[in-house]
Assembly symmetry: C2
Homo-oligomer: 358 residues x 2
Amino acid sequence: MKKIFFTPGPSQLYPTVVEHFQRGFKENIPSLSHRGKQFQEIYQDLDNGLRKLLRVPKGYHIFIVGSGTEAMERTIQNCVGKYSFHFVNGSFSKRFFVTAKELGKNPKSIEANSGQGFDFNTIIIPEKTELICFTHNETSSGVMLPEKEIAEVAKKYPQMLIAVDTVSSAPYADLDYRLIDSVFFSVQKLFGLPAGLGIIIVSPRAIKKAEKLLERGISTGSYHNFATLLKFSEKRQTVETPPVLEMYVLEKVVGDMLSKGIKQIRTETEKKAKLLYDFLDAHKIFSAFIEDNMFRSQTVIVVDVQKAKVDVKKKLSEKGFIVGSGYGEFKEKHIRIANFPAHSVEDVKKLIKELNLF
Amino acid sequence: MKKIFFTPGPSQLYPTVVEHFQRGFKENIPSLSHRGKQFQEIYQDLDNGLRKLLRVPKGYHIFIVGSGTEAMERTIQNCVGKYSFHFVNGSFSKRFFVTAKELGKNPKSIEANSGQGFDFNTIIIPEKTELICFTHNETSSGVMLPEKEIAEVAKKYPQMLIAVDTVSSAPYADLDYRLIDSVFFSVQKLFGLPAGLGIIIVSPRAIKKAEKLLERGISTGSYHNFATLLKFSEKRQTVETPPVLEMYVLEKVVGDMLSKGIKQIRTETEKKAKLLYDFLDAHKIFSAFIEDNMFRSQTVIVVDVQKAKVDVKKKLSEKGFIVGSGYGEFKEKHIRIANFPAHSVEDVKKLIKELNLF
């Protein structure tokens, strides 16, 4: 039986991924030296592609790391002497906060219940804050923060740095990078690659902050501190041997996405999300976990399945539709449906048809 | 023209790698949830396989990280409050030392010139040392430290922890793990995989040390500190989404190596190394950079090519033999030849034949 993976990452591979891997093997990409010219060209092409796809401002840097989770650590180490401030409304924003604690910083936070957004107008961020941390899309609960609100906060506190976790929303997320100092994501979500690669995009301000921390004698990490990442990325190299084949395939997928057009990808994402939410809002058994339309994720749709009184995930999997279980305490109560570029409108319609049989 | 990569990593892929990738794609491995049962089984099989192949003692833990370079950082963070001691005789052992500095520690070292080993009997390690760091095989210069000497040092200083970088020697390295507290390697060297995965094997003593550091309020890192790595690895999970497909393929290659037999792999490695060194010792133009037989690497053979007065690397590449250039200051003066399990005796003989034409 052919399976479709609607899991929120790792997920369905982007349709061209396997063929790019095959070609990569044929061209000996995995055996290339990461100190050679051919690797530099792959890195350069990837850099160009990502800049174009995400409209990365000039002067910003694109770094290769191991995962989105690593990117959290590197962002905190390099942008925070002592005080970060976190918008926490689920497991991944919480992890960002805990990361700061574990690294010996003194993070503050505003907490919302899982499944809730924030009342941005009422939040006052402490004066000493060096870095404000957002999780654009909470993969755990399916809450997406409006890009506009993130921008408003950034404008209100221009002296603070801004970090945005877009692990499960890039490249759908339409952020104004000029207002942001660290944006990061991993490749196994919307880019539809096998896991094993993270990307951080950092502003010149973030680089300066890292330099200042070093001057003050604060450790910003070793091989993946911003200074070292910058030194190597400027010559289109990486500090360590990176996942060269993954970078090659990512560059190809970014190319495919550019051919399709980011506007088209965003429109399709919203169309598919609307199909799902409209279905859920009208359904008797299933309902969307996120009620407030303003905070409904377009990329990870969380469904309350408690009324079904059967194992919905299992039943769906018997039909070849693999969805994610609920996160943490919601393991049995929710299912999570990824809505990524790898999922066609047809796939989503088929899934809805199947859900409608419950 | 068919190419053979004798580069010291990334290198020639192990002969079965592409076919394992194909199968992995067919079985939807990259789309599997890293919180699911199927992933746990892959992790468990990999753990079992590595334990068997490397004779890892009971009670030791196998952790998944991003690279050998990351493993250096994690080892220092979790095994050193203040004082590490480093055997430095090339770029990678130097990096281990610098990593400790960058992480705010106070490392000491004994330095040998590139291409030299150490006179182990005369070295006195400062009393306060918490961790002694060895680079078993210096990929930069082709010096391999005898396993016996590492063991002697470990026995002489039983109160200190021992770390051994086996990035370019595992699984050839025949170490007594019972004397060692952190051994790490990456997969793009002797295991012949595409880069993107690192393995750390740690002793119960190392775990205890990390716990003590945490108790003393010293940051041991965040998502990849030993405590967190242990918590997840015990349930056969990883903290972040790991390179699942790479782990799957590594498990398969470890299986292939077990079928072949580690003894056979070691014998063949030594046989091929002997072919190369015998050729070099008898040759008029080329010579082995490492003169002392005791320190000659069996896995990365460094050749002094200065007398050739031509670009040996380029000439070889025109015939399909891709070798590594010299490292750092030796870029033009040396070539580096990897002797990994992916390289057959026949491949090595062909390369020697080609070298003999100069």
